[in-house]
């Protein structure tokens, strides 16, 4: 609540503020009435991302010779298909829909965030942490469901000397519970840092007057780089989801 009023105050002052783009405010009405069930810009852009991802796959024709829209949909499908096949092997078909959904949502949210005046849904840690916790809790439940208490063998790697075992088990447990954190922080920090960098450069363009052409040229390149990062982070998130699911399938590898 305190943050929302701060956001409203910042928007009144016409200053160059790279943080302002991350403000969450209601789509209708003013920022003072931010309740639990308020329809915010974050929710709006999340819905747009879901809607566009669904539309892409609904509208893409199913022809033998693909049209342009169909090739986009097919190559996205193929990326996830190859990834699940490579990592999950026999279980690829079971978890493919989940991984594809995650990948598409994050990809569309990231790329839509690069549109001027839009809002980057994945630049808030609460969104990415929720996504990462779905993966983490899901993988843990599947692990115990498939292996019973044999899943705990994940923390005891084979072939480790006995006197090192307590230390190794401790490290394994810590690294297991840090998974949702690293998964969410990676996505959120990349998105936030990238967008802040773009806005700071945009501030240079305004401040330098005629010499602003130099940072403007740099911004074209940086925007391309951010597009790459947006796609790469979606890919990495989906890849790590596959890895964690694979850990839940095959404990003793």
């Amino acid at each position: 609540m305190a943050e929302s009023t701060a956001c409203a105050a910042e928007s009144v002052k016409k200053i160059i503020d790279p943080i302002h783009q991350f403000c969450i405010h209601p789509v209708v009405g003013n920022a003072e009435h931010l309740g639990v069930f308020t329809f915010t810009n974050s929710a709006l852009w999340g819905l747009i991302a879901v809607g566009l991802a669904s539309l892409l796959f609904l509208l893409a024709p199913r022809k033998l010779v693909p049209t342009r829209l169909q090739s986009v949909a097919e190559s996205l499908y193929e990326v996830v298909d190859n990834m699940t096949r490579e990592i999950l092997h026999d279980n690829a078909r079971t978890y493919f829909p989940f991984v594809l959904t995650l990948f598409l949502f994050i990809l569309f949210a990231n790329v839509l965030g690069l549109v001027p005046y839009s809002f980057t849904v994945t630049s808030h840690i609460i969104i990415t942490l929720a996504l990462a916790l779905v993966v983490f809790v899901g993988a843990t439940v599947i692990g115990f469901w498939r292996n019973g208490f044999g899943y705990l063998k994940l923390f005891v790697p084979s072939g480790v000397p006995v006197f090192l075992l307590p230390l190794v088990v401790l490290i394994e447990i810590v690294s297991y519970f840090i998974r949702p954190l690293s998964l969410s922080i990676r996505l959120f920090a990349n998105m936030m840092a990238g967008h802040m960098m773009l806005k700071v450069m945009a501030g240079f363009v305004v401040m330098l007057g005629y010499f602003g052409i130099v940072p403007l040229i740099a911004m074209v390149g940086l925007t391309g780089l951010e597009l790459l990062v947006a796609a790469l982070q979606a890919y990495v998130f989906a890849l790590l989801t596959c890895m964690y699911l694979n850990d839940a399938m095959h404990v003793d590898h």
Binding site: S182, I185, A189, N190, V236, L239, L240
Partner: protein, 74 residues
């Protein structure tokens, strides 16, 4: 020293962690490129491992970034 100034300095020091992540990511992609040029046939199959290594190397640096953000705004 002023607490606000100390916070800024602390956040700056925490952000140094990203330098290590940069070195790590450079190593990973550089070594991948070197390996891929030696054996281009095996390169495509290792792309998943490449991005996995990239993700792990980046994660450690980003924890430093998160600490910097916590110091500044937390």
């Amino acid at each position: 020293m002023d607490v606000a100034a100390a916070k800024m300095i602390g956040a700056g020091i925490a952000a140094v962690a990203l330098g290590g992540a940069g070195i790590g990511i450079g190593h990973i992609f550089g070594n991948y490129l070197a390996g891929a040029l030696r054996n281009p046939a095996a390169a495509a199959s290792q792309r998943g491992t490449l991005f996995l290594g990239f993700a792990f190397a980046e994660a450690t640096g980003l924890i430093g970034f998160a600490v910097a953000m916590l110091i500044l705004f937390g």
